[in-house]
């Protein structure tokens, strides 16, 4: 049997396919969204079902400033990508730094809120259903923010060290997609926990 192989081949005009990084990140976002949906469903299902206090309306305050910071960080990361596409690496690095700063402020506020809840209001993950679902959902989101901050921080460090060039713009865009996802999830979590659930 012949081992020579024949492969069909004709030139083809105008063959375009989407970017692998973007498709891969979208798939990851879909999968992570499904995880968040389940935690949101659990949160919604258990609203009003805690047998003992503290209850949401007793202890929760709207985290307006933290939310503004986080949502603004989506704008700053968008500009960071834009500047990198235009090969202005230094400006991109400043926008990245702003993103990391705003994201860190958000985490800082979450930490302060949790300190208050745990030590002054006596709400822990095992206190009641509200505690369990609150810390799980908000904590899951916060952990995704932290992962995003680590990635953005690394990129910032590489940019400062002069290793980032215009060629990396698409990769930064893929990372920014993740960051936009994290922000979108916060909009949902904020609505469910601080508006609907209170």
């Amino acid at each position: 049997m012949s081992t020579a192989v024949a492969v069909p081949h004709q030139p083809v005009e105008g063959w375009h396919e989407p970017s692998r990084g973007v498709v891969g990140m979208v798939c990851l976002i879909i999968a992570e969204s499904a995880i968040f949906v389940i935690f949101v469903v659990a949160y919604l299902y258990y609203i009003g079902k805690s047998l003992t206090g503290p209850y949401p309306h007793d202890v929760l305050e709207l985290p307006i400033f933290a939310t503004v910071c986080l949502l603004s960080s989506s704008v700053t990361v968008h500009f960071a990508v834009h500047e990198l596409r235009a090969a202005r690496v230094a400006r991109s690095a400043w926008w990245l730094a702003a993103t990391v700063l705003l994201g860190s402020i958000f985490i800082g506020f979450t930490a302060m809120e949790w300190y208050q809840l745990i030590y002054h209001d006596g709400l822990t993950i095992r206190t009641n259903l509200f505690g369990t679902t609150f810390y799980s959902l908000v904590g899951l989101h916060a952990s995704h923010v932290i992962v995003g901050l680590i990635m953005l921080g690394l990129t910032l460090i590489f940019a400062i060290a002069g290793k980032v060039t215009q060629q990396h713009a698409e990769r930064l865009e893929v990372l920014s997609l993740y960051w936009h996802f994290v922000d979108a999830v916060w909009v949902v979590v904020f609505t469910v926990v601080y508006i609907v659930g209170r």
Partner: protein
């Protein structure tokens, strides 16, 4: 008209010219590889080993149940056996084998040189493999109090509140949780790779409606994986929070709900079985046309039906919960949605039949398995429709009728098509044909064993025999039927051993296979057997769904008709 391109001389020729490589060099090659073909073969081999292990667990179960009042194993061991059998078969046999074939075939079929993210591919395999090792490590490493020993014993679906710390002390449940969690990460990674490869790396000319149907089905399967595995991951995180951080997700004492676990698990569990079956359909879509010598009937309808099955499968989960007391409204909804999913599935069956109709049928071993698949899958679907009627399910739910139904699908449809896929693609992967004679022994013994076991298993179910009982009284009348069921298991075991022997012996002594032993039409058959590590010296271009048909029949190419 497609032109042929000969790759440079010396590529893809016989391996006799390679220098001898030491054992450690070969090991290092395989352990560090990012080549989708090697990763695919590792997935498949890994799954085969677990198939044998879980098969032994099944044999032990069947020995225990063969006669009434048996004491072959204790009730505690029995609980571990069916838990491990189910968990292993779904997560460490089914998923890896299907991802293994997907990994191997998808890049070749779309004309790419590898998956979109080769390192993620390797990572996904190794983390899944570690998950499997972790699950079986539980047999050795158990800790905990009396009765809560080693391997998990909570059923493959680990219902709450049995899995709560107070009812399952020790770590056996945690081995279940973590091993599946890890394998889930691997599954999501592989699915991501398949989607990215399919959407971004098709060779020029391969528009989406020119892809092989196998690639379409793997695309839909991967999409399902994203929204299916994640709910299980979420539920397992919740279970760990309950067990170790004092959470109350499934804790009824604190107002939580054990039924919530059931919802979350079955939101995973039902689409999961579609994740397992769609690749089996994918194999049928490739094998049946080739051995009918006809293109698949109704390609667009097949794609639409597959997408439809994918969507509808997300809406049927609570048919596993009819006896929980959801009320007439939800029961009616889920009965309806379960019946609706039969429509696109039926379309697929009719299209396979229409492919066979008027074809020139060759009864090769893969084709024999495929034809058995067709009518076994039909019967499995019919018993599924029986169970979908919720009042009927109140009688049959949690009985051996359900066990018979799902094994009819898992073994009769999925495993049969997996065997077909082995016989069809083994020549491509190894360069050797599997022994035809041994293949026929494998087929007939397995076929007889399968029907002895799973046809007759419906009867004790109808007579009221519940699932997961470790023994039963003699005056029930179940003993006669259970004995027949257990005897079938022996035939299946022998058949699988013959198959394993065939796999090993044919690698060394099988007839050499050329690039295209079956006279097939998709791009993987244009490479040598086995393909070189880079797959294609020149990236192919295609003008129709059957590029090799176009090459072989330049006077009547498919591109003229599509």
């Amino acid at each position: 008209m497609a032109t042929q391109t000969q790759p440079p001389a010396g590529t893809g020729t016989a391996p006799a010219l390679q220098r001898h490589r030491g054992f450690f060099e070969v090991m290092q090659d395989w352990i560090t590889t990012v080549d989708h073909k090697k990763i695919g073969i590792m997935y498949i081999t890994y799954a085969l080993i677990f198939l044998l292990v879980a098969g032994v667990e099944a044999l032990l179960i069947r020995i225990q149940l063969a006669v009434p009042n048996n004491t072959f194993v204790s009730p505690e061991v029995f609980n571990r056996l069916f838990t491990m059998h189910g968990t292993t078969m779904v997560f460490f046999v089914g998923m890896p084998i299907l991802f293994g074939f997907g990994n191997y075939l998808v890049p070749l079929m779309v004309g790419a040189r590898d998956m979109a993210f080769p390192r993620l591919n390797a990572f996904s395999f190794w983390i899944s493999a570690f998950g499997g090792m972790l699950l079986y490590f539980s047999y050795f490493a158990g800790s905990g109090l009396y009765g809560a020993g080693t391997a998990p014993d909570v059923g493959w679906f680990a219902y709450a509140p049995l899995t709560a710390r107070v009812f399952s002390p020790g770590h056996s449940t945690d081995y279940w949780t973590f091993s599946i969690f890890l394998s889930g990460i691997g599954s999501i990674g592989t699915a991501l790779n398949i989607v990215a490869t399919t959407l971004c790396m098709r060779c020029p000319g391969m528009k989406l409606n020119r892809m092989p149907l196998l690639v379409w089905l793997y695309l839909v399967t991967s999409g399902l994986v994203f929204v299916t595995i994640s709910p299980l991951t979420a539920a397992q995180i919740m279970l760990c929070i309950d067990r170790y951080l004092g959470g109350h997700f499934f804790d009824t004492q604190a107002g939580g709900s054990a039924v919530l676990w059931m919802h979350f698990f079955w939101i995973f569990g039902h689409p999961e079985v579609y994740i397992l079956v769609l690749p089996a359909f994918a194999f049928a879509n490739e094998i049946i046309p080739v051995f009918s010598r006809k293109a698949i009937f109704g390609y667009p309808a097949m794609v639409a039906a597959t997408v439809g099955i994918g969507f509808i499968s997300l809406s049927v989960w609570a048919h596993h919960m009819f006896t929980v007391g959801m009320g007439p409204g939800p029961n009616a909804f889920f009965t309806f949605s379960t019946m609706v999913i039969a429509v696109p599935t039926g379309i697929k069956i009719f299209n396979w039949l229409a492919t066979l109709w008027g074809g020139n049928i060759h009864f090769t071993v893969p084709m024999m398995f495929s034809i058995a698949f067709l009518f076994q899958f039909l019967i499995a679907g019919l018993t599924g429709i029986i169970l979908s009627v919720s009042p009927f399910d109140w009688q049959l739910g949690n009985s051996y009728f359900v066990v018979a139904h799902f094994h009819y699908v898992l073994v009769g449809a999925i495993l049969f098509m997996i065997f077909a896929a082995f016989y069809y693609w083994y020549p491509k992967m190894s360069g050797r044909m599997l022994s035809n004679a041994l293949g026929k022994w494998h087929f007939w013994l397995f076929f007889i064993g399968f029907h002895l076991t799973f046809d007759f298993m419906h009867v004790p179910g109808l007579m009221g025999m519940p699932r997961r009982i470790y023994t039963y009284e003699a005056d029930r009348g179940w003993g006669f039927w259970n004995l027949i069921v257990s005897s079938g298991a022996i035939f299946q075991a022998v058949a699988v051993l013959i198959f394993a022997y065939n796999l090993v012996v044919s690698y060394f002594k099988g007839e050499t296979a050329g690039p295209d032993p079956w006279d097939a039409w998709t791009l993987e058959w244009s490479t040598s057997s086995p393909p070189p590590s880079y797959n294609f010296a020149v990236i192919p271009t295609v003008e129709s769904r059957r590029p090799l048909w176009d090459l072989k029949h330049p006077e009547e190419p498919d591109s003229q008709y599509e």
